[in-house]
């Protein structure tokens, strides 16, 4: 912060250029994605990593993580965390399966009901965090288990089983198309160029959510509130930002995103299980951190999160297309996470110590 360090920062064009890149963590996330993509493309070339079906396998995986990772990223930018999504996904599946498969409600009413219940649980998360000031990790750890328990309890109470199913008659063409089917697109006839094949509806939902959330966070005026909230809560409050409502809204958004994944998986597979998805918790957090969101809050980018999610998905699924042992994927993810955290921290230090003496 002294004059001396400022002059050092402006030492040369190379260093300033490097800082220019570091100024945007999503560029780092994209570079990571590129490295991983090239690596797996090379080693998975013979085994169809890049074929439409191969690409679909990691895109489909990325979409379910990605839909939840973006609102989780919002929460982390705002300085909070939500791990209750691990229970929200199965809870939403069970609610939908009970409403539609067991009680025979219309699929759209079931979907609406599921989203409303998820929004309600998100509201409870938000209220607990804003009213009690207990760290959100603990609050959502509590709701993770509470919701998981309730899901199991009601599933047994109402249907006497923990595995529920839908039949094809329960869903209609529109709900299948939007939430759960495999999409294939070819130019021309059967022998034409295949643009995509076996891609789940959730991939398109994910892309839509990326676009909408990018608009919200980086283009609309409200995105600024999220950054301000994570940057300095007290200053944000003093600036007139309704910080509690904003936080509650973000928790509701996260819960609804988790319910959309639940709905999508249920409609796709016509089945629902009460099993809590603990790996979903880890995957979403890894995707967000690899995507360049600072653990300390206040900084992040929607595109970065999408890149991080894709990187994670390529390592998780792409390993099957190489000759490497499948179990090594977790090692790669661990190392990747560590590198990402260190890079983010470096970014934070550089960003907060950089004065533009150049020009």
């Amino acid at each position: 912060m002294t004059d001396a360090t400022r002059n050092n920062s402006g030492a040369g064009p190379g260093f300033a250029g490097l800082l220019g890149i570091f100024r945007r963590t999503e560029v780092g996330a994209f570079a990571g994605l590129l490295i991983i993509f090239v690596f797996f493309s090379y080693f998975g070339w013979d085994r169809n990593f890049l074929s439409p079906l191969g690409a679909a396998s990691w895109l489909n995986f990325a979409s379910t993580v990605g839909i939840i990772a973006i609102p989780i990223g919002f929460l982390m930018i705002a300085g909070e965390l939500d791990i209750s999504v691990g229970a929200m996904v199965p809870a939403s599946k069970i609610v939908l399966a009970i409403a539609v498969g067991f009680f025979g409600l219309n699929i759209w009413i079931g979907i609406l009901l599921t989203i409303l219940i998820a929004g309600g649980i998100g509201w409870v998360n938000g209220m607990l965090v804003t009213r009690t000031n207990v760290p959100s990790l603990i609050v959502t750890l509590a709701t993770l288990f509470a919701v998981g328990g309730l899901t199991l309890f009601f599933s047994i109470l109402i249907t006497d089983t923990t595995q529920l199913g839908l039949t094809d008659a329960d869903t209609d063409a529109a709900s299948e198309f939007i939430f759960g089917t495999y999409h294939t697109f070819r130019l021309g006839d059967e022998n034409g160029l295949t643009l995509w094949q076996g891609v789940q509806s959730s991939v398109f939902i994910w892309l839509a959510i990326v676009a909408a959330c990018y608009y919200f966070l980086h283009v609309s005026p409200w995105g600024n509130w999220v950054f301000a909230l994570g940057g300095d809560k007290e200053s944000a409050r003093n600036a007139g930002i309704p910080i509690n409502q904003l936080k509650i809204g973000l928790f509701m958004l996260t819960a609804v995103a988790a319910s959309i994944v639940g709905i999508s998986e249920t409609v796709l597979s016509n089945s629902a299980s009460t099993t809590t998805q603990f790996t979903m918790i880890f995957n979403t957090i890894i995707a967000v951190v690899v995507g360049g969101v600072l653990l300390t809050g206040g900084f992040g980018n929607v595109l970065g999160i999408a890149f991080g999610t894709t990187t994670l998905a390529i390592v998780q699924q792409g390993i099957n297309y190489t000759t490497f042992d499948r179990n090594l994927s977790n090692l790669i993810i661990g190392v990747m996470l560590l590198i990402a955290v260190l890079m983010n921290e470096t970014f934070r230090k550089m960003a907060t110590n950089w004065s533009s003496a150049k020009k």
Binding site: V219, G231, E234, N238, T352
Partner: protein
């Protein structure tokens, strides 16, 4: 100046928290274009006094007047709307946000209409940079730079410029020069002078007598929740003010004590008081 109505005036303000009296009959006046330096040691009641002014606490007894009319603030927001802005150390700036975004946090300028309103980055940057430059901080010229990259003095100046831009008439600066180097503090003092020139009423809280004397027109020393001294510029010397801040205990006496002790104890200083 004394016949004009002060912008803000406190009349015999008391503040108690339950059985504990923190402020006793505080009476102060600040006119436009005037800097009141509020001096006092830790625990003297400075924070309680500024929180009372900023609407965080309501006075137990006594009244606050703005432009001669009694006012009461239920919430900090009421005080802000009346034009009282409190700037804490770096308050209102966000290290990882750009200067433009940080400046307009909560009141973002937009373009477009209806649900398609978008954040107007160019306009925000222009206004923010201009507001800061008008205060003489010409080194800030790029609204896209992150606030965290600014020096402490620049960041404090940004916070003050922001408060003034959004219509503050009474500026409460809570130790703005604490933790700043000599040069950086000079930056902030220049900003205080500029605010004064623009006709704001400034309440400047500080520990540093030198900083107070550089900008103050009027000084009030707070000791144990009461105003122990209230005087104008030039009426007291730096040593006298320092003595008052140390709780009335004369600094010269303290020095004499130490020297006397050392003479009789072979040059050893006395054990520090506990």
């Amino acid at each position: 100046m004394s016949d004009k109505t002060p912008i803000i005036e406190l009349r015999k303000v008391d503040k108690s928290f339950g059985p504990i009296d923190v402020l006793h009959e505080i009476s102060l006046k600040v006119h436009e274009g005037e800097v009141l330096c509020l001096l006092g040691d830790n625990g003297a009641g400075k924070s309680t006094l500024i929180k009372t002014l900023a609407g965080v606490h309501a006075p137990t007894r006594g009244e606050i007047l703005m432009d001669g009319n009694p006012v009461s603030f239920a919430r900090p927001k009421d005080a802000q709307e009346a034009g009282i802005a409190t700037v804490h150390q770096f308050g209102g700036t966000f290290p990882l946000m750009s200067i433009g975004r940080s400046f307009f946090a909560g009141v973002e300028p937009t373009k477009g209409f209806g649900p398609f309103r978008v954040y107007d980055r160019k306009k925000a940057n222009e206004i923010a940079v201009k507001a800061v430059q008008d205060f003489g901080i010409t080194r800030i010229d790029d609204g896209d730079r992150l606030v965290g990259g600014l020096s402490g003095g620049e960041r404090q100046s940004l916070a003050i410029a922001r408060a003034v831009h959004f219509g503050a008439r009474v500026l409460i600066l809570d130790e703005p020069t604490a933790a700043l180097g000599v040069k950086q503090a000079a930056h902030v003092l220049r900003i205080v002078n500029e605010a004064k020139r623009r006709g704001l009423a400034v309440i400047f809280i500080t520990h540093q007598v030198m900083h107070a004397m550089a900008v103050g027109d009027h000084f009030a020393v707070l000791i144990r929740g009461a105003i122990a001294a209230d005087f104008r510029k030039g009426e007291k010397s730096r040593e006298e003010i320092a003595d008052l801040m140390a709780g009335g205990e004369s600094m010269a006496d303290l020095e004499a004590n130490i020297e006397g002790y050392m003479e009789t104890h072979e040059g050893h200083p006395p054990a520090p008081a506990r």
